[in-house]
């Protein structure tokens, strides 16, 4: 009488996962690509610091930081092809380089998510208040910080409930934010040429694109922040899946979102430098958080709320989209036995990893509040420390890619360069950046705020602290549960390696 047929519609077979042709529309794909990097927030958070570090060469640094990102994105692309079932860096590094490296990679990803949430909420609240002309509130920590904490809690609740009511709204906002940024850039640059910018405005010059203009230490600092700007962009790369053999929407959108991102960053960066001029920027060097707001006000006059609102919504949206991956990494680690089982709990009603999500939020709130108490310039110290972690796990992923595919690198020139050399060079660049920045930050004089913690720059202390806590938790967990540590290194399944015959289809 009984037949227990388990019909699994659309099983996650390797060749079916990922973006199928026309499965998502052009706009959707464009939005996914842009959403992952949240350009308005990244610009608002970082541009002041980058300009303060490298002056007029900021556009060059922004452009230069794209290079390691491009190389690492190739690693993400190929690793994703080989192992789509499990997820990102944590899973890949574990497979390629063993559980110890994998655990640390997963920890770094989780921590980047946790650390950035506070900064996102802070920016969302600050620019939100500025947009509605509550400037006093925006500068008042006693008002801004509780609001930011409230925002984190509210958005975490939304993540747990898994509501999608706002998905459509978010799409519109993401496209709008890019449009607003470009409007700002156009207005600012045209005012420079029409000579009604700020008194010290300077006309753009090609030499600004030279990243080495300011030399040495400012360059590494700038590049590190540049890496932060492009952080998340690699998920757009997976959209290029089918771009060569057919002009499908996702493929084109992946490329378009990249171009749009580069154009937006460069033009806003050039606009900021040109419009404000170096004197203005130097005079306001202490107010990096609000330099973007200040300029928006100067350039757009009564319309500045448009730019402020764009930044605010961008930060709101990415607070939510940051909590989700961080909690999913915890979920993924817990499912493999790399973290306590409870983190893998799925809420039966909402079908989201509720315990992992609330933990992410709780740590993020504690972090945000504590750092704001002890640091002169919490936002930037946090972001710089974050960039160290990002550089670390990106470099790890680049190496993992070459290691995982090591038996197939010499099969074709394509494999050799895109899977082997590219990711390794990217990893090398990031490792160099990491070492140089650590060396710079070891001297508090060079650190952003000039503070000294234990004789070191604050970001370095934060970075070391997070790594130390991670290693400690890892060792404790190693003693308490052996399951995850019995996983063995492996290599890619030869069937999944891109071949020449299939090259056209797979690129």
């Amino acid at each position: 009488m009984t037949h227990g047929v388990e019909r699994e519609a659309q099983p996650p077979a390797p060749e079916e996962v990922g973006l199928k042709a026309n499965a998502i529309g052009f706009l959707d794909a464009l939005v996914i690509g842009l959403n992952a990097t949240s350009p308005a927030y990244s610009l608002a958070a970082v541009i002041g610091a980058v300009v303060a570090l490298v002056g007029v060469y900021a556009p060059g640094v922004v452009l230069a930081s794209f290079v390691p990102m491009l190389l690492i994105a190739s690693a993400f692309y190929y690793l994703n092809k080989a192992d789509q079932d499990a997820g990102t860096t944590f899973s890949w590094v574990t497979r390629a380089m063993g559980p110890w490296a994998g655990w640390l990679g997963g920890w770094a990803i989780m921590m980047t998510g946790v650390l950035v949430v506070g900064s996102l909420a802070d920016v969302a609240v600050r620019f939100g208040l500025l947009a509605v002309n509550l400037d006093d509130w925006a500068d008042n920590e006693a008002i801004r910080q509780p609001l930011a904490v409230f925002v984190i809690i509210a958005l975490t609740a939304l993540c747990v409930i898994g509501t999608e009511a706002s998905a459509r709204v978010q799409r519109v906002l993401i496209l709008a934010q890019v449009a607003f940024l470009l409007v700002f850039a156009i207005v600012a640059i045209s005012r420079v040429y029409a000579d009604n910018g700020l008194p010290d405005s300077i006309e753009p010059s090609w030499s600004w694109l030279n990243p080495f203009g300011e030399g040495g230490s400012p360059l590494t600092g700038g590049l590190l922040l540049g890496v932060f700007m492009y952080w998340g962009w690699e998920s757009a790369v997976n959209l290029t899946e089918e771009v060569e053999d057919s002009a499908t929407a996702p493929g084109r959108a992946g490329i378009w979102s990249t171009i749009l991102l580069l154009v937006t960053y460069l033009s806003v960066c050039i606009a900021v430098v040109a419009y404000a001029g170096t004197t203005f920027l130097a005079e306001n060097a202490d107010e990096e958080e609000s330099i973007f707001a200040l300029l928006a006000n100067e350039a757009m006059g009564g319309w500045d709320w448009v730019v402020l609102l764009a930044v605010s919504t961008s930060a709101f949206a990415s607070t939510q989209t940051t909590i989700i991956p961080a909690s999913r990494t915890a979920l993924s680690m817990a499912r493999r036995g790399a973290l306590p089982r409870q983190f893998a709990r799925i809420n039966p009603r909402f079908r989201t990893p509720d315990i992992a999500t609330w933990w992410v939020a709780a740590v993020a709130i504690v972090w945000y509040v504590v750092v704001n108490q002890i640091s002169e310039n919490a936002l930037f110290d946090s972001l710089t420390a974050l960039s160290l972690l990002i550089a670390f796990y990106y470099a790890l992923t680049g190496v993992a890619c070459a290691v995982y595919y090591r038996r197939h690198l010499t099969e074709s020139a394509r494999n050799f360069f895109l899977i082997g050399v590219g990711p390794l060079v990217g990893a090398g660049l990031l490792a160099w950046l990491l070492v140089e920045s650590v060396r710079d930050m070891a001297d508090p004089e060079n650190s952003y705020s000039g503070d000294s913690w234990l004789g070191l720059g604050p970001p370095l202390v934060i970075g070391i602290g997070i790594t130390a806590v991670g290693v400690a938790i890892m060792l404790v967990w190693r003693v308490r549960s052996a399951a995850f540590w019995s996983e063995r290194r492996g290599v890619v399944d030869p069937a999944l390696v891109p071949r020449k015959s299939a090259a056209g289809k797979e690129s």
């Binding site: 019909r7 519609a9 499912r335």
Partner: protein, 138 residues
């Protein structure tokens, strides 16, 4: 024809299972157990882990329900669909030409249900066939 039941681990679903078994037995028709496994939220990083975790939860839940239904002597089919719960139910109901879709409700205030997005609520709007909502026992 058949009786389609949306099943998860919730208290409401447990009671709905009892009602669905009664109906299927009364009409002498097979029971189709459905679990929509698409996790909420857009794709993105580590989506696959989340997806696998939800599927696993569905398999465990349906495994228990199947045993109960088989003990009642019903012909039982299990479907774990890659869709959101409400869509999965409508889809399965169409394919099995269902007489009725049975779901457990969380017995909460309409406002809460609307805010949190309740499956029965969505189903009532989507379904072309009758929907039977079974409230939780207290």
């Amino acid at each position: 024809m058949s009786v389609v039941l949306g099943y998860d681990e919730s208290a409401g679903a447990a009671r709905a299972l009892g009602v669905a078994i009664e109906w299927a037995s009364a009409f002498g028709e097979p029971l189709v157990l459905v679990f929509g496994a698409a996790p909420p939220g857009l794709g993105g990083e580590e989506y696959q882990s989340h997806y696998e975790a939800v599927r696993q939860m569905g398999r465990t839940a349906l495994g228990r329900a199947v045993r109960t239904a088989e003990e009642a002597g019903l012909e039982t089919t299990v479907e774990i669909l890659d869709e959101k719960p409400a869509e999965a139910l409508v889809d399965a109901a169409a394919r099995h030409s269902a007489r009725v879709i049975v779901v457990g409700s969380w017995s909460e205030s309409p406002l809460r249900g609307a805010l949190l997005g309740s499956t029965p609520h969505k189903l009532l709007h989507l379904s072309p066939i009758p929907v039977l909502c079974v409230p939780t026992t207290d």
